[in-house]
């Protein structure tokens, strides 16, 4: 029984570690912030989950398993938030290779007034529906 559990844990750990390596490769080789983020967030969710499952199997004990589950839950909650923030700022601040985009629903199309909505720079033009600086 422990041999089977060890094999399952080893497979989980190996898959998670392989995802870490692919994240590094993608970070070095991809052309802009969005595609680098696509590569870099692979271990943030799936890699961390696999490694936590492997560690929970190996560590044998509910106290450790709950704490590893807490780490996985934190990752699942926080990864989308930070990815959303970084990609929004990256798009607005010219970090995106617009010539590589296939669909660019945010650019053009009369949405220029919403371009800085949410995280305004210090000297952004005032929003049409707001009265003065916030």
């Amino acid at each position: 029984m422990t041999a089977v559990a060890d094999v399952i844990a080893a497979v989980c750990l190996l898959a998670g570690a392989a995802l870490c390596l692919t994240a590094g490769l993608g970070l070095v080789r991809f052309p802009d912030v969005l595609s680098r983020m696509h590569a870099g967030t692979k271990p943030q969710v799936l890699g961390v989950l696999l490694v936590m499952v492997g560690a929970a199997i190996r560590l044998e004990g509910w106290a450790n398993a709950w704490m590893l589950l807490l780490v996985a839950a934190f990752q699942l909650l926080t990864a989308p938030v930070s990815a959303h923030l970084i990609s929004r700022v990256a798009y607005r601040r010219r970090h995106v290779r617009r010539d590589l985009l296939l669909v660019d629903e945010y650019g053009g199309g009369g949405h220029e007034d919403l371009r800085h909505h949410g995280d305004e720079p210090g000297d952004a033009p005032p929003r049409p529906d707001s009265a003065g600086p916030r």
Binding site: A17, G24, V28, V48, L59, E60, V89, D123
Partner: protein
């Protein structure tokens, strides 16, 4: 050290080194934020792998701290970049720390 240990540490160490390469080369602040985020995740995966291989639960609380710190760091730097000024003396924002527009960069870094 079994072959499994060596393989795991090589995979994770290789990923961490490549993330460090991106962290050093930039070119922009957000590239470094993404690389730091990934590096912290890889570090926490390495800590978990070490704990699993040694059957040593001492490092497990550190994982919780690292997971929370990575989030706070990347979000605060992203907000900071979002608040940078738009207009600048040179007209293209380079004196404010903004990079050249990504599609105009020639070396493809």
């Amino acid at each position: 050290m079994t072959a499994l240990d060596v393989a795991l540490y090589l995979l994770i160490g290789g990923g961490a080194l490549l993330a460090l390469v991106r962290l050093a080369r930039g070119p922009s602040l957000l590239d470094r934020v993404v690389a730091t985020d990934t590096l912290l995740v890889i570090i926490s995966a390495g800590l978990a792998v070490h704990a699993a291989l040694q059957r040593d639960p001492t490092l497990v609380p550190v994982l919780v701290v690292v997971a929370l710190l990575a989030f706070v760091g990347s979000v605060s730097v992203a907000r900071y970049v979002g608040g940078m000024l738009l207009r600048s003396a040179t007209g293209d924002g380079r004196d404010l720390g903004l990079p050249v527009a990504a599609e105009q960069r020639e070396d493809g870094s």
